[in-house]
Point group: C2
Chain length 401, copies 2
């Protein structure tokens, strides 16, 4: 007998039909003799509807009250799913975040889980009940309700799996697993049977958003076996774990991120402290800098380039211009007509041919590379936005055909 | 400085406009220097919408899960009202039932309040905050959420007022007070400045439903001064308290209840135990019997008549017929074409003219009286349903013109 945590997102529980579909999955798992803890998000557009209600009142709602408001969404779906399970003859009970023992810090709207007191959940499991937990929420030391931020239900599920030492944490989503490329864009994209936490983290941050990154980091930290699978098919999904089996596949996926801009600060003085001044500005304003390149100093000057999320490009440009006297430079250039295309795979670090194969493919397709960045398990290039889809298809074909 | 509890129903908080209206009332009270605790119901049709969601899944939902589901409605309106107060610059915080310290028994969907731990509310009041409490809900000894049943937010408000020893508990409703008759039916109905708890209880049970009876009983028990007033006008409402000032008004109101049926068991043996057998049957099946009349024994037989709520008439008839062999009788007659018209007033007991004036008025209007029942503060008659509105208008004119 195993203990399995199953997480279902908002679309999976959005109406009667989908609730029964989820309940059948859960009841089937239970019928196999496993203990099951289910974590649910709010139904469909519930969270957005509640945010709209608050927005009608104020654009500056207190974060504590937002958490009070939004946490009701998961409470509703948890109660409805428990009823649905009972209707199928499967003994079940719903618990809010605080009832399930989620203790968080006091950072309303983006709280971190500090500990989970599993006594109540374990007591309900011992009474042969499926425990349906409202995801995304917890309680702080003031007995106030907190929420974990967007994607928080994934984090709730992984945290419970870690606290209960569960055998598996299944994340049910709209897609049936992690693919070697976006299957809507690349028809012959393949589903991966297995991927490592690190590869998953790189793919997620590169725009192949299947799992919330925070939940993957948590799973890695506590060695929780994850499975990403679909609630609409009965197919096995993709297992995410520490080390994957040798399967001869050097790279795990090709991902595109076109939510990116390149900012160049040209001809800054080639002296210590310049980079620090530029990037501490970004950090102070919570701008998440991706790739950083610095040209080799020449003529006593150098160029600094970096990528930032597209939505932060205007802010970054304004900050740099307002503070340019502090670090100098001849020109500040912002290019929003770019995309980042990356290949990810833990195996590539020991195979020097991977990078050259990627570059060769781009060259053959007449796609110009503006920037290159590499890590042990990833190679990213910045290219023109218009070339991005073509690049993904070509690179995918080069590695997976 | 006083402490005032203000309760607002579902229509009073149903949208942005109404929330701001309520927030202005609360902020104005606060600005006068009083401490304010606000109790809210769920917005407009929220509770019915949630019930509909559950009904889609099952017609036999677990009561525990229903309470989990429905309590979210008041949590949402409490958070929204706290935001609205903050937007008006009024410091405020929302609390769920469990955060506000409502401990109940374990009777899901109709829990009784056992105690209120006021520590959190008092701590927030001492920080100069308006405390917005989600009505209708509490927590039982298992840390599970319970609800108090329909009208439960009135009960929440009175219970908090009692626990905090508040100076006044204001119940804001659609009407601006308690009237001498239904103002929609009787144009010259007068608003009462004051009414006793007992009079209010009689009027409520007679169909002039303004306040939930349980809340009036609780207010009477703990001597909580109530005020019924409108959230849409600034007029003073009606004060409900233990003893009203002498104001020369013998009767306080004329009320009609046409949700009633008369059941007659004719010619039962005139021997001990017959009434017991008839009414213990009703009690076993939770049928709420109103007026009971028993004719004087004659020819060794007597007639037993009683009123029951209209919706229970068929059940009562079936029970009596199935068990007729236990108490005998020649015939069982059910009359659903009736209404109960009553006058209520603590002053009437010492004025013998009241009853005769009522009967005279009915006689003058050619309305036949089928049954009469009196208590110290009430006289009720059962008449034909078609005569009821005419009877109310005539009696009201006789006493209030």
């Amino acid at each position: 007998m195993s203990l399995i945590v199953q997480k279902f997102g908002g679309t999976s529980v959005q109406n009667r039909e989908r609730l029964f579909n989820v309940a059948r999955i859960v009841a089937k798992t239970r019928a196999q003799g496993d203990d099951v803890v289910v974590v649910v998000s709010a139904q469909g557009d519930m969270t957005d509807d509640l945010i709209a209600k608050a927005d009608e009142i104020t654009h500056d709602a207190s974060k504590r009250e937002m958490d009070m408001l939004l946490s009701s969404g998961e409470q509703i779906s948890a109660a409805l799913l428990a009823m649905t399970l009972q209707e199928l003859g499967c003994s079940a009970i719903s618990l809010t975040g605080w009832q399930a023992g989620f203790h968080t810090d006091r950072a309303y709207t983006k709280a971190r889980i500090k500990s989970i007191d599993t006594e109540r959940i374990e007591s309900e499991l011992s009474r042969n009940r499926v425990v349906v937990v409202a995801g995304f929420q917890g309680m702080n030391r003031y007995d106030d309700i907190t929420t974990l931020g967007r994607g928080g239900s994934d984090t709730s599920a992984v945290a419970i799996a870690a606290a209960l030492n569960a055998d598996l944490c299944q994340i049910y989503t709209d897609v049936d697993g992690v693919y070697t490329a976006d299957p809507r864009k690349v028809p012959n994209a393949r589903k991966l049977a297995c991927i490592t936490f690190d590869e998953m983290l790189e793919l997620a941050s590169l725009g192949a958003q299947v799992l919330n990154n925070r939940s993957v980091e948590l799973a890695k930290k506590y060695s929780v076996n994850l499975e990403v699978r679909s609630s609409l098919t009965d197919l096995p999904g993709t297992i995410v774990k520490e080390v994957t089996d040798v399967e001869g596949m050097l790279i795990k996926g090709v991902a595109k991120d076109d939510n990116v801009a390149v900012i160049s600060v040209l001809k800054v003085p080639d002296e210590p402290g310049v980079s620090f001044k530029v990037f501490s500005l970004m950090a102070q304003h919570k701008i998440n800098v991706g790739i950083i390149l610095q040209s080799v100093g020449r003529d006593k000057s150098k160029d600094i380039l970096c990528t930032v999320p597209l939505e932060d490009a205007a802010l970054a440009e304004r900050l740099l211009r307002e503070n340019q006297s502090r670090f100098g430079g001849s020109e500040i250039v912002v290019d929003t007509d770019v995309a980042k295309v990356s290949i990810v795979g833990a195996g590539m670090q020991s195979h020097s041919g991977v990078a050259s194969k990627m570059f060769e493919t781009l060259y053959e397709n007449n796609i110009n590379i503006q920037m290159i960045a590499t890590s042990e398990i990833k190679i990213s290039v910045i290219i023109k936005k218009a070339d991005a889809d073509r690049a993904v298809t070509a690179i995918h074909a080069a590695f997976f055909s």
